[in-house]
Symmetry: C2
Subunit: 297 residues, 2 copies
């Protein structure tokens, strides 16, 4: 079983045009490869919603900082192709760097607001790199929809914002995070963890869930996150970049009692591996009014 | 005689989709209104190349600096509509500012290189504003082609660059500058000139042509522009923002003998009005080899 691969924008557009002539709808799943079940769920969701699913695999150099893992990021195209073929994806788009950024490339896209704080503080080039490459991928293929995981929640909000602001004619579909048996969010970077680190990694999700439940029950956001930080460090994480409650749409920081849809997001280090995760916080209306009164007293 | 007007992206897209269903090709002419013969030539060129021509009229606030003429920029929609109807344009797209920049708008496009120096030095927000709004207009309409005048030559190169870099599926067509009987480049801002200033304005083009001829004949670029600056100030211009010879494609500054396609560009003030203009410099191969040898000796 195999899946066709194109490596140029011209070849990608020829495929898209052929499908358009047949009135087929197309979904795009942009990835950096090293595909795991989280990516495959995006492909499956795409297959449910569209006639064809294109998966792009491109390890985008511009979204890595100088000290980050661009050179070592896993590249396993043969394995990726096999998995995509098995699941029924229609096409792999795997351009070389020179196809995406030919000599003279000079354009960047910046999104303020949602890209500030959280990962934006610790990876200053990241969201400009992501915004620019995702815009390029969307305009190269002009799909009906593109699918992204909620695991990279801030990235998802940045992409939603730029698609709306630049009037890119595509629907952005988000899919909940896929997790291991113990709750650890799937990530290509989990491969960096030692067995000991892997055992400890699950705590991040557990703690975020506890924050979500506590804040939904009326505990003040900053109290809940203060406690959570201690718990994460106690579990053997060596550093926390951030662990915060934010508005689910605008990512505005929230303190005190939270009365609208929110999200608790974190990035923390286990040895030399940086893990990120996030969990929704249901709005207070989901909590019984008795609880609510008890906690605001 | 009249021309249909749409004021929302949704209505614009409905028109475009209807044309697409009929397999009609569409050209876009983005303008800020106050249409003159320079704009009308763009529309005519569009009508030669495409089945339908959409003209957008939008005075884009984000490309004006705080001290610039956004509030006073001429807005004459009734007259614009009449002219567009007479010439056979298919549709006017005239969105309000809130349609282009709804609350929460947060995305900007930056082009380095070609946007640096020249107008980029004197109008720091200008090219980011232009790049962002032109991208929006192109993605709102997704035309087959878009037409721009060479009068805003640096802007044209910025747009060419971003369209290539972001993979926007549109052809950019440029059209030579349309001039008054005495050579003055048509501009909506010429309306600001007093009769006395208007008489003096023609010198800018004359001097640029002289630089072009001299440099093509082998005079060193910086010598030619030094003389030209004196001539412009002698003619009653009160200030020169820049007057430079640059590479025609990359806009890299050129000094000494010029051996590739180049452009001489200027911005200068007559009273409170800032005029810009530019003229091509043919490559040296157009000059006889005897001249060339004589000058390089």
């Amino acid at each position: 079983m195999n899946i066709p691969v194109v490596r140029t924008i011209t070849a990608l557009r020829a495929k898209m045009a052929a499908w358009r002539r047949e009135s087929l709808t197309v979904a795009l799943v942009p990835t950096m490869g090293a595909l795991h079940a989280g990516h495959l769920v995006l492909v499956q969701e795409g297959l449910q919603r569209a006639d064809r699913v294109v998966v792009s695999v491109f390890v985008n150099p511009t979204q890595f900082g100088p000290q980050e893992d661009f050179a070592h990021y896993p590249r396993v195209e043969t394995l990726d192709r096999e998995q995509l073929a098995n699941i029924g994806a229609s096409l792999l788009f795997a351009p070389p760097v020179t196809e995406m950024y030919p000599a003279g490339f000079a354009t960047t896209i910046t999104v303020t607001g949602v890209s500030e704080g959280l990962c934006g503080t610790f990876r200053p080039a990241y969201f400009t790199g992501v915004a620019t490459v995702v815009t390029k991928l969307l305009l190269q293929s002009l799909p009906d929809m593109a699918l992204f995981g909620e695991k990279d929640y801030q990235q998802l909000q940045v992409i939603r914002r730029l698609v709306q602001d630049l009037d890119i004619p595509v629907s952005i579909i988000s899919v909940p995070t896929v997790r291991e048996f113990d709750g650890l969010a799937l990530s290509s970077r989990n491969a960096y963890l030692s067995p000991e680190e892997r055992r400890r990694a699950m705590t991040l999700y557990q703690v975020l869930r506890e924050v979500s439940i506590a804040v939904a029950a009326g505990v003040q956001a900053d109290m809940a996150t203060d406690r959570a930080r201690v718990r994460v460090l106690d579990a053997g994480f060596n550093h926390i970049d951030y662990l915060e409650v934010r508005d689910a749409d605008t990512l505005t920081p929230l303190k005190g009692h939270v009365r609208r849809p929110a999200r608790v997001l974190a990035a923390a280090w286990l040895g030399r591996t940086r893990l990120i995760d996030n969990v929704p916080i249901p709005p207070r209306s989901d909590v019984s009014s008795m609880d609510s009164k008890a906690n605001s007293a």
